[in-house]
């Protein structure tokens, strides 16, 4: 009889405040500045989305990524042309990190004809296959088998690409998590699983929901590497994901990366947040804001001055404003499209056209 005791296997937690890593991982100045700009695009886009929502100028179920920008941006910066990602209900950050344009994103959030999904999807379903963005997803955990499948497609065809899979701490309790990762691990598929542990699944804290301190520990169940990174440290995030992506591309199989992060906003727009204190949020904003952390790092590295960063901010705000104008000026979808695009090459009854 052999006993497997949990204590034997627990790992040190990497959570808490970022300890700014100054390894720039060979990234050029312009790459670093692009990463900053991407994070800022997410932040400013969503700040504006929140305002518009409160003014009832857009609607639907909207989940903000503010506070978590380092995760998507660091991770997607490690990808190449042809790589793909799957995303979640909290998908704006992933979209922007994959290079989607703000204007058709904003239009989609407004349900307009010019949106990425012609208004049929809304915030929870933005997809742009051209950008390798396989879709936000309204079902918790559902992206995990899907990105595993994309990686399976690469494996079957020998295409040298990788799939990145984003999901939350809550999703790590879904059956889809287990089946998707287990299957990928067995075939050593080129997929990297990134758990965005922002401390909460809707109104329940990860401590309530999950009987172990670190979700990365679950990698052990699948015989794959598990890594814990502080998500507000974009350089650490980039480094961890690049290592995992290289490994995946080399045929060595998946990695489970747990990004410890925090959402500064409510679960969805309109969330009264009875489950946490203002102090907790304020503390995270003060210590774990990926923009603040990276801004300091960029200055420390001599890559950008506060003036440079302020200029970028103005450009980004301007771009966001144009996306709002674009969205608001765009028409509602024509009623005719209600029954189109249910099938490829067939009418709404499935009859071949």
């Amino acid at each position: 009889m052999v006993t497997v005791s949990p204590s034997q296997h627990s790992v040190a937690s990497g959570s808490g405040a970022a300890s700014p890593s100054l390894d720039r991982h060979g990234l050029s100045d312009s790459q670093l500045i692009d990463m900053y700009r991407t994070m800022l695009r997410i932040r400013r886009f969503e700040e504006r989305v929140k305002e518009l929502f409160l003014e009832a100028r857009l609607y639907g179920s909207v989940h903000l990524y503010i506070g978590e920008e380092g995760v998507a941006t660091g991770a997607c910066s490690a990808l190449r042309e042809g790589d793909v990602i799957s995303s979640t209900h909290r998908g704006h950050g992933h979209c922007i990190a994959m290079g989607l344009d703000l204007a058709p994103m904003m239009a989609e959030l407004m349900g307009k004809a010019t949106g990425y999904n012609h208004g049929k999807g809304g915030s929870m379903h933005i997809a742009s296959l051209d950008h390798g963005m396989l879709g936000a997803n309204g079902i918790v955990g559902a992206g995990i088998p899907i990105s595993t499948g994309a990686a399976l497609g690469f494996w079957v065809t020998g295409r040298p690409n990788v799939a990145l899979c984003f999901f939350g701490d809550g999703a790590a309790n879904e059956g889809a998590f287990h089946e998707g990762i287990n299957f990928a691990a067995g075939l050593k598929l080129p997929v990297v699983f990134i758990c965005e542990n922002n401390g909460y699944a809707q109104f329940q804290s990860v401590q309530q929901d999950t009987p172990i301190p670190d979700i990365a520990t679950r990698s052990i169940s699948y015989g794959i590497p598990g890594v814990i990174v502080e998500g507000s440290d974009i350089l650490a995030m980039f480094g961890a994901v690049r290592t995992a992506v290289d490994r995946a591309r080399a045929g060595e199989g998946p990695t489970l990366i747990e990004a410890k992060t925090y959402r500064f906003e409510g679960h969805f727009l309109g969330d009264p947040e009875p489950y946490r204190t203002r102090e907790e949020v304020a503390h995270a904003r003060a210590t774990r804001d990926p923009l603040k952390v990276f801004s300091a790092q960029l200055q420390q590295l001599g890559v950008a001055t506060t003036d440079d960063l302020a200029r970028i901010d103005r450009q980004v705000r301007d771009e966001v404003e144009r996306s709002v104008e674009f969205g608001e000026a765009s028409p509602e979808p024509s009623e005719d499209i209600l029954l189109t695009d249910i099938y490829t090459g067939a009418d709404s009854h499935g009859r071949t056209l």
Partner: protein, 323 residues
């Protein structure tokens, strides 16, 4: 008597039944801080062993209530959106619904699966699908679809006291907007008894859940044109009160069925089949269906609205039958 919303009525039913019977407990995701208010306050009142928050694990929830019922409890599970039940279909259908029969009758499984269907809040396709037809296709389940706050309370209490797995469907728009008088007394509403919400002689309109309101609205318009519609709310579709429906159709000779689920193989098809079988010679026109077209629910609210039945469509369908 107080005028309550559907969510308040449901909350009252849960509180009364939990107070009445120790074996009743609730389980689900985020039921402590209830999004739509149905479970509000119950955690404080009954504590964490009666109001059990779970991880985001629908299979675990659906199976856990079956196991708990097997050892004598009377669980009430909550799945926020009905589409999430697709994550747990095996436990609900292969396990909970079939066990009694497979076991030769031995199991008594008093389970309530509460869930929320319907469109109207711009939640898009993965949070908006009405699946009553799926569950009605499964022997062993009972399917409850209240359309008023009064019925919501009375039927939820009946569901909790029923010894079978019950799919209790709530409508996301009605939670807050549908309000009516709800006694704070211990009353129940029986299964399998339709409610005739309006009497009329010219046409029968059968509506499911929120579509009863649409049917009543249509009936008002039609009345102005001199067409008197009888509006029937079956309230439970399994068991189905076919007698009330057939009696009405034999009187009116015409029937329109309105529901929110997709038309193709929706419960409306079953109603048509049953009505035709039992009242063929009384029909002056083929039964008409007004239901969601076969399209996933779009996000855009104009499109979303077009994807569910309207009172105008129902009235139009009635007029079509009167010619």
């Amino acid at each position: 008597m107080a005028v309550l919303s559907v969510s308040q009525a449901l909350n009252m039913a849960l509180r009364e039944e939990m107070g009445r019977d120790d074996r009743v407990f609730m389980i689900g995701e985020d039921i402590k801080d209830s999004t739509y208010g149905v479970t509000r306050g119950l955690w404080d009142e009954f504590g964490p062993k009666r109001v059990i928050g779970t991880p985001i694990s629908e299979i675990a929830i659906a199976g856990a209530v079956l196991g708990a019922a097997s050892v004598g409890l009377r669980p009430v599970a909550e799945f926020m959106y009905m589409t999430f039940m697709m994550c747990a279909m095996d436990q609900v259908v292969n396990q909970a619904a079939k066990s009694k029969y497979m076991f030769g009758g031995k199991a008594v499984l008093p389970i309530v699966y509460r869930t929320m269907a319907g469109a109207g809040r711009a939640n898009a396709a993965q949070h908006t699908q009405s699946l009553e037809a799926w569950f009605a296709h499964v022997p062993g389940l009972k399917i409850v679809m209240p359309s008023t706050a009064y019925d919501a309370k009375g039927l939820l209490k009946t569901s909790i006291r029923d010894d079978n797995p019950v799919i209790f469907i709530e409508n996301k728009v009605q939670y807050a907007t549908t309000k009516d008088e709800v006694p704070d007394t211990d009353y129940t509403v029986p299964f399998g008894v339709a409610s005739v919400r309006r009497t009329g002689k010219d046409v029968t309109i059968i509506g499911l859940q929120r579509m009863v309101e649409i049917a009543l609205e249509a009936a008002d318009h039609l009345a102005e044109e001199g067409i008197e519609a009888e509006v029937i709310d079956p309230r439970t579709i399994v068991p189905l009160d076919l007698d009330t429906i057939i009696k009405s159709v034999k009187k009116t000779h015409r029937v329109v069925i309105v529901h929110e689920a997709h038309e193709r193989v929706g419960f409306g098809a079953e109603l048509v089949a049953q009505i035709v079988q039992h009242a063929f010679d009384y029909l002056d026109a083929p039964p008409a269906r007004v239901a969601n077209p076969n399209v996933p629910t779009p996000f855009n609210r104009i499109l979303e609205n077009l994807s569910i039945p309207s009172a105008a469509q129902v009235a139009q369908a009635v007029r079509g039958l009167m010619r």
